[in-house]
Symmetry: C2
Subunit: 102 residues, 2 copies
């Protein structure tokens, strides 16, 4: 399993647009058999900073995600709304070790 | 609900110690009624960088967490093992909106 914690900096005038597009991407991503979580969070300090917390079964599941209509639609829509390039951070899991906890 | 995504930079010689202590803190935290997740992740790029993904029901639940024996034991143990101060980042939740998803 792999976890991508992606920080996204959004132009202030597009915060509402970004939230709407990311909720759609969340809903689609959670239908993927290889996706375990797709949490969309907004910073408490800076409403223009978001964190996407994406948990996948494997690298193959990540590749499948990148081919989906919902991901491609999200990417195309939100890229012009970003204040700077998004910052992905990939992780492996230390805990919880039980797959049922994901 | 509140989510704290905490980045921790660990001295390389204490990575194994940090993992062991954080697994104990994970296990204790998940017993708290106000805790929904306590994921411990290790960076794929830098084995000395960790992300703690902590989800709480409320600010009161966070205050309760900070009084627990497992949190206080973790804090005392790991502070000397950190290469620099940890970086907490607090968030509110955009998605999933269903509390049962947490």
């Amino acid at each position: 399993m792999l976890v991508n914690a992606v920080t996204v900096y959004v132009k202030p005038e597009h915060i509402a647009d970004f939230i709407a597009a990311s909720m759609e991407n969340h809903a689609g991503s959670r239908q993927e058999s290889g996706n375990f979580r797709f949490d969309v969070l907004q910073s408490s300090d800076d409403p223009a900073r978001f964190l996407l917390y994406e948990v996948f079964a494997s690298q193959a599941a990540v590749e499948e995600h990148r081919k989906t209509a919902h991901y491609l639609a999200w990417k195309t829509k939100v890229e012009p709304w970003m204040a700077k390039p998004r910052e992905p951070r990939w992780h492996t899991i230390v805990a919880p070790t039980d797959p049922a906890s994901w």
